[in-house]
């Protein structure tokens, strides 16, 4: 009895109170185990953990949006009421007016068939405001979220907005009914570093303006550390650490939190010999814009413009830039998967001049590893089949192929038994190792890595980076490493190219780039990342 009374008195200042929240699937798998926290107006709580640690599902529970087949225990008080005991109708009043949510991927969270005015104003219309009032409110909201010229944006569709604008529109949509609690589910993961900072700053200023409580969900502790007061670190559904953020940052208690905090990957492997193997000269990639019935070329979108660089054996070159800067186009052009102009001279051969038959034979010298470890492996083939595919071109006996397979699996630190598994039976890190093994089995001199770690969580990232460094030493491999994560680039690459809008902003030795950036954009990137 005493306990409940105490609860009631504290609820006046507390906006959100989660007590003993546990979520299970029907198969008894525990998704969330005994989560407790309180949140008052003006406070910011960060929920941090790897993918699958139960961050998003706890927030869906707070919104009352959980799928019905999940078993729920515990209480969630939004204001004085327990949202889990409400009926659907009462819940929908709480949603929007009391508690609102911003989703990770604005491209899919905004209805592509509605204009901005309708997207932002829909909940207002449902509350019975007149059309004129709604328009006024929407314009105010759009101004609040930092969109210049909101009148122009009103009539646009989501696909006509930039990534940052979409995220802002989604924030405006969540704020329409002036909620007291705002949940931001990885609000910046889909954005590049400079936009990330802008959006987080915006959320902070809006929080102060509206006096909201804010819940920030992220997989990256470093993103939230300047913006949150309280921190909950989740691992496999359990809160392993909880408390004041500053305290945890200065004295992390568990090894897991320490791992999450760690963003130092060491330094690049020192170079031994200086023998250039790759010269790229005036490389350009253009995509034609075709229009009309006859598909005639009307113009070009430039993805890469006049790029030149050199690469020595055993050296690695980092390519950095925001999304849309042309990084992936560069990777595909270098391995001749898309057309390009200019010279790519690898081991004395100009790849852009080779006829397709000679090129096919030369392909074993350069290989590519893709970003998404789920999409880059054929789901219908076993690991063994996937890896040995590249060997089929040379006429090898079965015994030789088995030997190659064994040694390459050994190199990427996988057990030989993995050869019989299918991709869906592997974890993200294991898949990326298989993708690496597929590239390594043909013994390339140059490996192009297109964001190979960005789909993985911190611990796995670290392991993959260690592996890459080790391989670089033992095999004398040259890397072209594409990433938006400057931490990783710093630890692996000898030289860095910063790309923006298809052009080279800066091309510099790594130490020089980080200690003395020449360009304003590079400086912004570095301050945003560290």
């Amino acid at each position: 009895m005493h306990l409940t009374q105490e609860n009631n008195s504290s609820l006046i200042s507390t906006l959100l109170k989660v007590e003993n929240l546990s979520i299970q699937t029907q198969g008894q798998k525990i998704l969330l185990d005994d989560l407790n926290f309180e949140l008052s107006a003006g406070e910011t709580l960060a929920l941090v953990g790897e993918s699958g640690s139960g961050k998003s599902i706890s927030c869906l529970a707070m919104m009352g949006l959980l799928p019905e087949n999940l078993k729920l225990k515990g209480q969630i008080f939004v204001g004085p009421k327990n949202i889990l005991e409400m009926d659907e109708k009462a819940q929908s009043v709480v949603r929007g007016q009391q508690i609102a949510m911003i989703f990770q991927e604005p491209a899919t969270a905004l209805n592509p068939l509605h204009r901005v005015e309708k997207i932002v104003g829909e909940s207002l219309l449902l509350c019975g405001f007149s059309k004129l009032e709604v328009r006024q409110q929407v314009i105010t909201l759009l101004t609040d979220v930092g969109i210049s010229e909101p009148e122009k944006i009103l009539k646009r569709y989501p696909h006509e907005l930039s990534g940052g604008q979409r995220q802002r529109v989604m924030i405006a949509m969540a704020l329409a009914l002036r909620p007291k609690i705002l949940i931001a589910d990885e609000p910046t993961t889909a954005l590049d570093v400079i936009l990330q900072i802008q959006i987080l700053e915006l959320l902070k200023s809006l929080q102060a303006k509206y006096g909201m409580a804010l819940i920030l969900i992220s997989h990256d502790l470093n993103v939230v550390h300047q913006y949150a007061d309280e921190l909950v670190v989740l691992q496999k559904g359990r809160a392993v650490e909880q408390g004041e953020l500053k305290q945890i940052f200065s004295h992390p208690k568990t090894a897991y939190t320490k791992q999450l905090l760690e963003h130092e990957f060491g330094n690049a492997v020192p170079l031994e010999i200086e023998k250039n193997i790759l010269f790229v000269h005036q490389l350009s990639v253009k995509f034609p814009i075709r229009k009309g019935i006859l598909n005639r070329v009307q113009g070009y979108i430039t993805a890469i413009e006049n790029l030149s660089f050199e690469l020595a054996q055993g050296e690695s070159l980092g390519i950095v830039g925001e999304s849309g800067a042309g990084k992936s186009s560069l990777a595909l052009a270098l391995v001749r998967l898309i057309q390009s102009e200019g010279q790519i001279i690898l081991l004395g051969q100009d790849l852009n001049q080779l006829p397709s038959k000679v090129l096919r034979a030369a392909r074993s010298n350069f290989q590519i590893v893709f970003q998404d470890p789920f999409g880059s492996l054929n789901p219908r083939m076993t690991v063994g089949q996937i890896i040995t595919e590249g060997l089929k071109i040379n006429a090898l006996t079965d015994v030789q192929i088995q030997e190659c397979l064994k040694s390459v699996l050994d190199k990427v630190e996988l057990n030989i038994d993995f050869q019989h598994r299918y991709p869906h039976e592997l974890s993200g890190g294991q898949r990326q190792r298989v993708a690496l093994a597929r590239a390594l089995v043909v013994e390339p001199k140059l490996l192009i890595l297109d964001e190979p770690t960005s789909a993985l969580d911190r611990t796995t990232q670290k392991a993959i980076i260690q592996l890459l460094k080790h391989l670089q030493q033992t095999e004398q491999l040259s890397y072209i490493f594409i990433s938006h994560d400057l931490n990783i680039v710093k630890s692996l690459c000898h030289k860095v190219i910063v790309l923006r809008h298809a052009k080279v902003v800066e091309y510099q030795k790594t130490e020089l780039l980080f200690s003395d950036p020449k360009h304003e954009y590079t400086r912004q990137l570095i301050t945003a990342s560290f």
């Binding site: 096919r360 034979a361 880059s376 492996l377 219908r380 083939m381 071109i393 597929r438 590239a439």
Partner: protein, 336 residues
């Protein structure tokens, strides 16, 4: 068997109506394939003077059984039956009529109504309707299955090439197929068939010629999607040839949606063949076929057993195929 295939089979089995239809359809297919052993005007096995004879498999002259003629034995002839029964015995199939045997012992004028001897009556030439349905189903199903298989093969290949290479090949292919699909298939087949001597093979090629485009669009769309995927790009970067990428990498991933369409294509092909037979442009006139039975039903409205048996056999087979198709479509659904 991979995990995906196993879970698909399981989902197919869980679809009760579809799975029951599948069993029933298989039964019908097996029955019609063994039609000679069920409905025939020859005995299955004859024992005559200590030796055994298989008239269904081999033709024996009447002299074998002590008759006078050198020609093949007419086992329906009471004289021959007497000869056999005197020095041995004969096992007859369930129905003692083949699709071409007229019942000569009928007391009523043809077409005669259903009786103990002719379960579904006889047609206007005194032939047993049940036997004709059995043989007709065999022709329809075999014809339909082969036609479906060949047109699927052609459609998938063309769709794969169009989708994988894209660009001009795709553009030209799509325009060509749009024009092709615009042609009224039934009328074109009728015109072409009347130019040649009616014969199963001609009919097959002509129908294939106009009917192979079913799957092109679907396979093409799957390939357009798949060629952008990283595992295809990785294979390209390894220097794997286009042929291997198309058939080994993309096709196994792209084909499931097409496979689930096969029962529906089979349905279309069987109805098309029936329609042609009904109009008299299909199989040769004396061949047993469902369309021909329906035509007889139309010509002999006073003998409703003709139209009714034609209608029901066609309706049952087509419904079974639709249910199988629905179950297959659900089982292959990638979202499950």
């Amino acid at each position: 068997m991979s995990l995906i295939t196993r879970s698909r089979l399981q989902r197919f089995r869980q679809h009760k109506l579809g799975f029951a239809s599948f069993i029933l359809f298989s039964l019908i297919l097996v029955l019609s394939l063994t039609a000679e052993l069920i409905a025939n005007d020859k005995p299955l096995l004859v024992k005559y003077e200590d030796s055994y004879y298989l008239p269904v498999v081999k033709a024996y002259p009447e002299t074998t059984f002590g008759g006078v003629f050198e020609t093949e034995t007419d086992y329906k002839d009471p004289a021959v039956q007497e000869l056999i029964n005197a020095k041995g015995w004969a096992i007859w199939p369930l129905i003692r009529f083949s699709y071409q045997t007229p019942n000569l012992d009928l007391a009523v004028p043809v077409p005669s109504p259903p009786s103990k001897q002719n379960w579904l009556g006889t047609d206007d030439q005194g032939r047993d309707v049940f036997a004709r349905i059995l043989y007709g189903l065999r022709v329809s199903l075999l014809f339909g299955l082969t036609l479906t298989f060949c047109s699927a093969l052609l459609g998938i290949t063309v769709g794969a090439i169009q989708g994988y290479y894209g660009g001009w090949i795709d553009l030209l292919g799509q325009r060509l197929i749009e024009v092709w699909n615009g042609l009224p298939m039934l009328f074109m087949v009728m015109i072409l068939v009347s130019m040649f001597v009616p014969n199963v093979y001609w009919l097959f090629f002509i129908m294939l010629f106009f009917g192979w485009t079913f799957l092109v669009g679907m396979v093409r769309a799957e390939f357009l999607k798949a060629r952008q995927l990283d595992y295809v790009r990785a294979a390209q970067a390894l220097g794997v040839t286009d042929r291997v990428i198309i058939f080994k990498h993309i096709l196994p991933n792209a084909i499931s949606s097409s496979l689930s369409q096969l029962p529906f294509i089979l349905t279309t092909n069987i109805s098309a063949l029936t329609a042609l037979d009904f109009l008299g442009y299909g199989l040769p006139p004396d061949a047993a076929s469902l369309g021909e039975l329906l035509l007889q039903g139309k010509n002999n409205l006073d003998a409703p057993w003709l139209a009714l048996s034609g209608f029901f056999s066609l309706a049952i087979v087509l419904s079974l195929l639709i249910y199988i198709g629905e179950a297959a479509r659900d089982a292959f659904d990638p979202r499950k």
